[in-house]
Subunit: 250 residues, 2 copies
Amino acid sequence: MRIVLVIQYDGKNFCGWQIQPNVRTVQETVENAIFELTGQKTSVTASGRTDSGVHAFCQVAHFDSESSIPPENYARALNVILPSDVKIVKSMQAPKEFHARFSAKKKTYRYTFYLSEVELPLFEPYATRIIRADINKMKEASQKLIGEHDFACFLASNSSVKDTVRTIYSCKVTKKNNLIYIDVCGNGFLYNMVRTIAGTLLSAGEGKILPSDIEAILKAKTRAKAGKTMPAKGLSLIKVEYKGIKIPKF
Amino acid sequence: MRIVLVIQYDGKNFCGWQIQPNVRTVQETVENAIFELTGQKTSVTASGRTDSGVHAFCQVAHFDSESSIPPENYARALNVILPSDVKIVKSMQAPKEFHARFSAKKKTYRYTFYLSEVELPLFEPYATRIIRADINKMKEASQKLIGEHDFACFLASNSSVKDTVRTIYSCKVTKKNNLIYIDVCGNGFLYNMVRTIAGTLLSAGEGKILPSDIEAILKAKTRAKAGKTMPAKGLSLIKVEYKGIKIPKF
């Protein structure tokens, strides 16, 4: 039986989603909990690998189970075993052909900045500090990213990915008190893409580039033209959307 | 020269504000940093003592300095010395007669609940989990607290305070996605008062008491009638107001 898990994690103390030797990963932590619960060695596939330090409000993953545990009971049973920084928000049965990665229609990431002259203890763990930014310039620049583009310019320079065309459905910049959120929804993202989009929109907000420069940056297709890659701690996966399966959102 | 410090701290790893032997407190951490900076032993007085585990977005404190350091430079200089969970948001000179506690006109605390069937890693550290609550009943109950009342019913049972009359200027209950905030502004608060107000409003939201019961609870003046004291981690000091001195707010 194919089971879907909706997973929330604080990425601070994880070396990302994907299993790697000798480091603590979300995937291994969840697979170990399933093994402890069912005695079954299984591979858990996520909608996408999040990087070291990146958070997830609603990561979606699937695995196949031979256990007789009712699908909706996995959440509660696994949460007893899981550590406090990763928990199952919801578990349910999925159609046999469901695939957390390939069935995903849209994904939304949020990048968070906070405005302050000094480091603030209550903001620092989940946001990146900036001194000032022109929110309207950031909004204007964000709109230039919408649509189908070759995002090679936002790809980490050490990546070997060939197809760098992705579609951004929406990119919203909002300010709430001293917080600036960048919510990017797309059909998929390249390695470091959202963190580099955040850095490029920040450059626009700081007046280092013009919002209209975004078009040239996209056309240039080289990493050097875009802004800095922002730190992982400010990034969260907030939503994954599928046809026919409803995922809770926070 | 009297210096005002606006201090933010994550209360998680502090045994509250006030110095006590053999435990880590905010007051001692700040006083040690001042000593390291100026070589001067000094006592730092806060607007009020926050309890073990309680957070502060903008605690206000004062101390007297004989150093020649310009008042506004203390923030940056102390932040180099201070650990990451307590930082000075702002420092400035105050009139000689300014007193962080006695000059305070109003204080605002926020209590945060989050709605979820399971523990959520990204909410758990700074909010208290509840399953469900009728927000309108909580709002209705909150309005009964406004005004000058004898809050003896909300006082921790082991307290020896004599004068238990306080004035609540406003008490706002708001819901944002799966978060419920209770913002209470008053001229002063008894020990555990906000955490017990939060528990009592939750009782109203859960239908265990009626909003109209609040009046009888206040009149009864005994701790037993009010709701449970909610955990410290959901409580934050968010604002302290003075006449003639502007304190930043987040």
